[in-house]
Symmetry: C2
Subunit: 428 residues, 2 copies
């Protein structure tokens, strides 16, 4: 079984190292030897801690995937192009493909899976969501006989590290971001993480798998953590919650029957929720399904070795399939559920309102909620005089209605400021 590796960065070099070091053990597990036949890199002269012959390396990735002797292509370049074109070419040439490329799958998954189906080859991608945590296979296979209601995931380690540090130290976002960059938990350009793009890609993939429907990153409502303040984190603590950036995929009632909501935003979750204790750069995916009930999958969400573990698990599976002349289940989109916009999703809101300390203020605020039929669960008054605040938690209501309430509050004379607005998820 001849393997081509596209990309030899942090993940790729670990994959190359393990394929070489564990060759005999992997051969026993697969039932045939895996031979590393070529590695496509951008900079062939770069120093790599790999004891491999120089002739394995090439800068011509296209020529490598065009080789007729390649059985299996591992793509760990990342990004849209040339990864997309290389994967399609590899499949067309009859190779099976293992990829860790969440951005590409969330953007162009349909085209890639169509190419795999046409070529009758595997396109495996366990490493694309939550690093080493097995979550793709459990959704596609273990829960294949169940009905998934909801997936709540902490799927971005950088933002979890930042929010965790803000919670522990009471620091502000900017300060912690700098610390995270210094420690290597955040990149020099942290946009993809802190603006929620990375989590949104994973949400699209998770929603597709959970609901047997095609969901792309364009369908995912996305808010990052840039606007989360130290005050938000304190408010969460006061109500027994913690702030997490969540990828949320739900089966909800739509105008034409069952539909899907897929969104990424910061939210308060109760401290006794299993996701609340996910610390630092760890990831976890919480799945609620009809029969299995509540499941959680926890582990390292990124890093060279963990991602390489997920890649190699796929390599073994795909190689076993290839020996039998078969391929796995492929994309499942038969349910074709509609993806609804964020306004249709139902959620709870935590709203902190700076108000004038005078008679009638609660009545006016309550009326603003009532105008959009949003029911209030708890009200807490805090402070006096110029520090007076109302802290309100709502029952579940449509996100659009809740947003309209917040806009209405801002128009009230007695309201000086709506100082914090955050969704509350995972309340049991």
């Amino acid at each position: 079984m001849r393997v081509a590796l596209l990309g030899c960065g942090v993940v790729g070099s670990e994959v190359a190292r393990l394929l070489t070091r564990d060759a005999s053990e992997l051969a026993r597990r697969v039932g045939a030897p895996l031979e590393l036949a070529g590695i496509a890199v951008r900079r062939p002269g770069r120093e790599r801690d790999l004891d491999l012959p120089a002739e394995l390396f090439t800068t011509d990735a296209h020529a490598l995937v065009a080789r007729e002797d390649i059985d299996l292509v591992i793509e760990v370049i990342g990004g849209i192009e040339p990864a997309r074109e290389l994967i399609v070419t590899a499949l067309e040439n009859g190779a099976s493909v293992v990829t860790a490329n969440k951005a590409l799958l969330a953007e162009d998954g349909g085209e890639l899976f169509a190419a795999a189906a046409k070529a009758e080859r595997d396109l495996a991608f366990e490493a694309a969501v939550a690093g080493a945590i097995p979550i793709v296979r459990p959704l596609v296979e273990s829960l294949a006989g169940d009905t998934v209601h909801r997936v709540l995931g902490i799927v971005n380690g950088t933002t979890n590290f930042i929010l965790d540090a803000m919670t522990t130290h009471g620091s502000g976002f900017e300060e912690v971001l700098e610390e995270a960059q210094r420690l290597g938990y955040a990149e020099a350009d942290p946009t993809a993480d802190i603006e929620g793009f990375d989590a949104a890609s994973k949400a699209a993939i998770l929603a597709s798998l959970a609901f047997h429907s095609r969901v792309t990153i364009g369908d995912v409502h996305r808010e990052g953590i840039v606007e989360v303040t130290a005050a938000d984190v304190r408010s969460a603590a006061e109500m027994g919650c913690v702030v997490k950036l969540l990828a949320i995929c739900e089966r909800i009632d739509g105008p034409d029957g069952a539909a899907v909501s897929a969104r990424v935003h910061p939210a308060m979750i109760p401290l006794d929720h299993p996701l609340a204790s996910v610390r630092g750069a760890f990831n976890a995916v919480f799945v609620e399904s009809e029969s299995a009930g509540q499941l959680m999958f926890y582990g390292p969400g990124a890093g060279g070795a963990p991602t390489a573990s997920a890649v190699l698990g796929d390599v073994v599976s795909v190689a076993r399939n290839r020996l039998k002349g078969v391929w796995g289940p492929g994309e499942s989109t038969h349910a074709q559920l509609e993806v609804l916009e964020i306004g249709r999703a139902t959620t709870r809101y935590h709203v902190q309102i700076d108000v004038d300390d005078r008679a009638g203020v609660l009545a006016a605020v309550a009326a603003a909620f009532a105008e959009y039929d949003v029911s209030i669960k708890t009200v807490r008054q805090e402070g006096h005089g110029s520090d007076a605040q109302l802290v309100i938690v709502t029952h579940e209501a449509a996100d659009a209605d809740l947003a309209a309430v917040v806009a209405g509050l801002r128009d009230l004379d007695m309201v000086r400021d709506v100082s914090s607005v955050m969704r509350v998820e995972g309340m049991l």
Copy 2:
């Protein structure tokens, strides 16, 4: 695809209900309809909440598995016989098999997997370990390219419920057991749970999968929770730990190279370990592997619907394989690691010793540890006079040496009693 169901108790009736209710969705996921062709029961007249034709039910399980039109047999009878004979017959007749039978797999797995290999058919068993939690597939497939070092599992809900209640309420074992029986969390005859037999079956299966070696229940050292006292639970709390019944499967150094330790016993684990927060009747399996690092899988470990979810996930996988004319990886025992006896396992001990309150007692106790080269991590003296106690936590040492130390302590004049001895696991 014609399906025979053996057993129609709590799990079986849920499987039958879902196979019927979700028939069209399952057909889309599999690629062919699954038809429930027969259900073997002991008492055909029993009231069942199933809307199924009476002629589907039979008391002759042997005739059902002997039918030539059966493609897939689901075994949820439990126990050794007739389950073993029925599964072997089904495989010999060319059917694929899905089973939830942990006791049988831990006892006679070798024979069953040999029958499956000979027949070239699937024998799937996700439901046999930790109910709805996907753990078999992650070990067999997701971690197929990784090296597992250790599996720590809370795999028995009854004992976790009991220990959790003892921790929360400070109650004794007997009292909580009665409460658990009243609430339905413990059976009228709780032996299999509280003596650790159920957990030991699961430990044998997990160790086999994790280490590619055959491990049977006879290889698993087993201690239940019957002797865990309220004082043990309090001692654990004092050192920032909680008592859990753990199934522990480790790759350890043996006299002839890598070997396996598989054991079930109560142990203290630190409160900050992810397993410490597994409450009530939930299960969780914590896996440490070389590349993936620390993974945890959490969810309901028993119950009709959760177990049915795991069974149906296997049914879908096996049916997909059958449509392609292939079968899954089967048993993997190529590593053939030796399973060592408990004395060879390394662990830490927490020992509570009632001592005479006089000079020289610590020196004498320390000498007893030194005699077997067991190094002491912490010593705490508590109480005075007739209440004087030494609380000692050791570093890692061979279990046999630690046991010898405890025996030696009991022989010391100055030692009135060794009042609590418990292993400490999961310290980072």
